[in-house]
Symmetry: none
Subunit: 242 residues, 2 copies
DNA sequence: TAGCACCTATAACGGCGCTATATGAAGTGG
DNA sequence: CCACTTCATATAGCGCCGTTATAGGTGCTA
């Protein structure tokens, strides 16, 4: 066996491909760029990966492993719905951290290349949802819930990726997340305010109020008052500190 | 002027490109295939479209025009929410009818190529939502609602496209549609809090935020700030009856 | 008829994914 | 120490791709 671990060129190819993919803003990366960056000649690439697609499959597999590791690192707190929120946010964050990789993983979807990524993510999410179902929090089957949540999660992430970093606002994510979750599960008991430090209910309410104020300006507040009020509202809704 | 309408080669190129794109299951289409199918030589393509990308842009523009025409053909019934459902379903249907075109239009998203498609679709949807807002059915701004709905709509459509036709089930679409819609709008007048005139959404949101703030104080606002904020919040929610 | 846009074709360039073939390095049995 | 096998890397090149410099044809205007 090859117990003497020194697969330098293969690893260099993987790293080079991943780096070039991450840098190239959507443009395609050529095998010549990759082999040159890895200081290797063409046949080496094909010896190890068979194909350009094989190489990128390996890159995607690595990224997907990282994604799954992050997902698995989210512990099962006692509150399944809160767990779902964290998984959603983690998904979005991964997409924003590795946009190019994410596009290959979730945006490119060719009919049957899919299983390795979307299907696995779906299965994992379904597992989390089974815990929610066990806590009698689900209104639909875990399978259906997983598909709906994942679809919306991907849609939101793709939209956020396609926006420039400055215009990007996570309100879209929070809002859509709560929409899908509340349709799929009953959120805890009647008391909407959470007991954890995350306090998403406050954020959601603030966002809703802010949105409502956009379309109808109340006459109870003067102009300057309203301006300051909106600023504070935005401060509240833009992510609770630590 | 070119009043003698006979732009045969340009049209043939467009048609050939569209046909080949629709047939090719995700695989890339070469200019040589296209020019051969259009019975034209290479320079003709570049004379008319400048670029391979320019040609596909034209194809996408045609498909997008068809999409928008279908969207516009949906009349404004008296019920804005029902209209939104129809627009959602039309979006999904277009994606399933022209999967390859749809992937280019909504799945490929390179940072700045986007405007011509997603942004326009978003603007159109926002317009429909403005009608809902005028009927006091919206809980958030039309802009935010449009983004959320469109993101979920795209996510669902991409997921459906990536599935084989037999496993495909529209339950996913209906379920997610209702989830997003019910989070963004109040369906009909079932909600007793909403009276059709005035600005109830603001009041409702203000009350909700106030309730949430009672149990968890955010650290983004200082003590005095929070005090004033709450006072204003109270002023907004206690608006005297019309 | 000459000139002038416009449109199309011939032929080729450089870059791409990929590979037939050869060379080196490392371990094994005689 | 030497064949011999096995794996890993390199040389050189094939055919396809997107693209273009150049030239030829076509029909209108003067």
């Amino acid at each position: 066996m090859k117990s003497t671990g020194d697969p330098a060129p293969k690893l260099r190819l993987l790293r080079a491909a991943a780096a070039l993919l991450a840098e190239s803003d959507g443009a395609s990366v050529s095998t010549r760029q990759i082999t040159e960056a890895a200081k290797v000649t063409a046949p080496t690439l094909y010896h190890h990966f068979g194909d350009k697609e094989g190489l990128f499959d390996a890159v995607v597999a690595e990224g997907f492993a990282e994604y799954l590791a992050a997902e698995r690192s989210i512990p099962a707190s006692g509150q399944p719905i809160e767990d779902l929120r964290r998984h959603w946010d983690n998904h979005v964050q991964f997409g924003l951290d590795h946009p190019q990789l994410y596009l290959v993983m979730f945006g490119n979807i060719r009919p049957e290349r899919r299983p390795s990524t979307v299907a696995t993510a779906e299965a994992f999410l379904e597992e989390v949802l089974r815990r929610a179902a066990a806590a009698s929090r689900l209104v639909v089957t875990p399978h259906e819930a997983a598909r709906s949540i994942l679809a919306a999660n991907i849609g939101v992430t793709l939209m956020l990726i396609s926006e420039t970093a400055e215009k990007r606002s996570l309100e879209l994510s929070v809002m859509t997340r709560e929409a899908v979750l509340s349709a799929v599960a009953t959120d805890s008991e009647a008391d909407p305010v959470t007991d954890t430090e995350g306090t998403p209910a406050v954020v959601v309410a603030a966002i809703a109020l802010n949105a409502a104020l956009q379309s109808s300006h109340p006459d109870q507040l003067s102009g300057p008052e309203l301006k300051l009020f909106l600023e504070w509202l935005h401060r509240i809704s833009s992510r609770s500190g630590s």
